[in-house]
Symmetry: C2
Subunit: 315 residues, 2 copies
C-alpha cells in the first residue's frame, strides 16, 4: 500500500547535515528504515479485522508520505541496544506512527488547526468528512494499543510499551501540549510557555519513540533513560526547525499550508525570538543530543546524524 518513504516530501532529510549526502550510507539506512515502517504498517492494516470502509480511512491516513522520523527512531534505538531491529521494535514503531498520525488527523480538523492539506494531500476530513476524520483518528489511537497488546512477544514488555506510549501521548503529554498550544494563541508568548508547549506537544513523542526502542532492545534502565534525554532534545529541536520552515518554506515544499503559524498568531520560537536566535537554539539542542549519545560510542552514529539532519533539513 505504502509509497516509498519521504517520497515527494521530507526529502530535505536526505541532505544530511551538509546538504550533500543524498546517497550516503546514513541516507540509505534512513530510507530503508522508513520503508520498513511502511511495510509493517501495511502488513498490520491488512491483517487486522475491520470493515473495508474503516480500513480505507486508516489506509488513506497511514499511507500518505510522512517522514516516519519518530518511528525510525524506535527502530534505531532498538538496534543501538541489541544490535538489530527485532520484531517488537517493528510493532512498536508502527504503533507510534499510528498515534502520531491520529494526532495529525485530529489536529487538522476545522475546530483545531483547520488545515486542508497534510503531507501534500487533502487532510482526512477533506478527503472524507469531519465525522469520519474524528472516528478515523479514534480508530488509529485504539489500534496502536491493540497491536501492542496483541503482537508484542512478552506481556511485561507490552505493558511497558503501552504505559510509555499512553503517558507521552496523553493528558500529561502530547494532549496537554496541544491544549496549551491552542490556548497560547490568546496570550503573549514567553520562553517558559514555548518550552512547555514544545516539550509536551512534540518532544515527548520523540522521547517516547526513543524509550520504546530502548525497551524493545532490552536496554538497562539507565540506557533507556539516556535515550529518553536524547529524544527530548531532538524533539525540541525538531519543533523549532518545523516552526522556522513554516516561516521560510512554501506550502508545496511543506506538504501542508505554509505561513499558518503567523496568521494564527501561534506561539513559536521564530515569532518570539526571531529566525536567527531560533536557528542557534536548534543547533544547540542538536549538539546536546549528540553529546548525550557519547557513552554509546561509534554504534550511535546514525542517531547522531539523525539529530543533525532533523534540525538542518530543508523542511
Amino acid at each position: 500500500m505504502c509509497k516509498a518513504p519521504f517520497e515527494g516530501h521530507g526529502q530535505g532529510l536526505y541532505q544530511g547535515e551538509r546538504g550533500d549526502m543524498r546517497d550516503d550510507n546514513f541516507s540509505r539506512q534512513l530510507r530503508a528504515s522508513g520503508q520498513l515502517v511502511n511495510v509493517t504498517l501495511e502488513r498490520v492494516l491488512a491483517s487486522q479485522r475491520m470493515p473495508d470502509e474503516v480500513r480505507a480511512v486508516l489506509r488513506y491516513t497511514l499511507e500518505s508520505p510522512g517522514k516516519r522520523v519518530r518511528s525510525v527512531l524506535v527502530l534505531w534505538c532498538c538496534e543501538l541496544l541489541c544490535g538489530r531491529v527485532n520484531r517488537d521494535a517493528e510493532i512498536a514503531a508502527a504503533a507510534l506512527e499510528m498515534v502520531h498520525t491520529y494526532s495529525l488527523v485530529h489536529d487538522d480538523l476545522p475546530a483545531m488547526d483547520n488545515d486542508d492539506l497534510r503531507r501534500g494531500l487533502p487532510s482526512c476530513h477533506k478527503a472524507f468528512d469531519e465525522a469520519t476524520a474524528i472516528l478515523g483518528g479514534d480508530a488509529l489511537l485504539t489500534l496502536a494499543f491493540e497491536i501492542l497488546a496483541s503482537r508484542i512477544g512478552e506481556a511485561p514488555v507490552a505493558v511497558r510499551l503501552i504505559r510509555q506510549l499512553a503517558e507521552d501521548a496523553g493528558a500529561n503529554g502530547m494532549i496537554a501540549g496541544q491544549l496549551a498550544d491552542l490556548e497560547a494563541e490568546r496570550v503573549a508568548g514567553s520562553e517558559a510557555l514555548l518550552e512547555y508547549i514544545h516539550t509536551n506537544k512534540t518532544a515527548k513523542m520523540f522521547r517516547c519513540a526513543a524509550a520504546m526502542g530502548g525497551i524493545c532492545g532490552g536496554g538497562e534502565d539507565s540506557e533507556v533513560a539516556r535515550l529518553c534525554e536524547y529524544g527530548l532534545k531532538v524533539g525540541l529541536g525538531f519543533q523549532i526547525a518545523d516552526d522556522m520552515l513554516d516561516v521560510s518554506a512554501g506550502s508545496k515544499e511543506l506538504g501542508k499550508t505554509a505561513g499558518k503559524d503567523a496568521r494564527a498568531a501561534k506561539c513559536t520560537y521564530p515569532s518570539v525570538f526571531g529566525m536567527e536566535a531560533s536557528r542557534r537554539c536548534a543547533e544547540k539542542l542538536a549538539d546536546e543530543a549528540v553529546g548525550i549519545l557519547e557513552p554509546f560510542g561509534a554504534k550511535a552514529e546514525n542517531l547522531r546524524r539523525l539529530a543533525k539532519a532533523l534540525l538542518n533539513r530543508a523542511r
Copy 2:
C-alpha cells in the same frame, strides 16, 4: 468529585422489572456498585499527573451523572466468578467507563450527532469548546489504556484487558458501528443493518464489560465466553430500549435531546419495526440473556435482574 450515581437521571433502573423495587436488595447493590465506579474514577483522576486545565475537562465529563451500567457489569461479572470485586475489576471498570465517556464526548460533537445536552448537562463542547472536546475525548481514551497498563496487578491480565477493550472499542467494534450508524442516515433501514449497527456500536462494549469482569475474576475461557454472550444480548436489548425511549420520553427524562433519531432519520428498531415489535424484541433478548446465565445458578441473580431492568427501565 462524583455525584451519587444515577442521581437525577437513570433512576428508572431502580424500578427493576416491575417498576416497584426502588429499595430492594438489587437496587441497593446497583447503587453501591455505581458509587464504587465513581469513587474509583475520582481516585484515579486525582492521582494521575496532568495539568489542571486538562483535569478539569476530564472531571467534567466523568462526573456527569451517568448510569455506569457498563462499568457495573465489569464489577458484577468479576464478583460472579471469584466471589468478590477485586482491585483489578475496579480499574477495569474505570477504564471502560472512560472509553464509554470519550465515545459520548466525540459523538456529541457538531460534526457527529450534534447534541448540546448530555446526562442533563451541557455537552463537553458546549461547556468548553469543540477543540477541547476533541482533545478531552482523546485524553480519556488514552488514559483508559494507561491505567490498565499501570494499575493492573499482573502483566498478562493487563494485556488481555487492553486487547479486549481495544478490539471492542476500535475499528472492528464501536467505531465501525458509529461509522455505519452515520452512513445509515442516508439509506433505508433493514434488520441486518440494524443488527450490525447495534452489535458494533453498543453491544460490543457490553460484551467487553462482561469479558473484562470475567478476566479480572480469573474465569475459565468457557466462563468468559458465556459472559460475552450474555453481554452481547444485554447490549442489543439495551440499544433497542434506548431507541424506544428516544421516541417516548422527553429531553428532561432522558438527560439528552429527545426525538433526535426521527429528525435525523436514524436507522433504529422503532423507526423500522414500530414500538410494539421493538418491545417484543427487547424482551426476547432479555430472556435469552437470562437463559445464558443458567449454568451460574443463584449467584448470577443480580446479572439476571440487570438484564431485565435495563430493558424495562423508564429510561
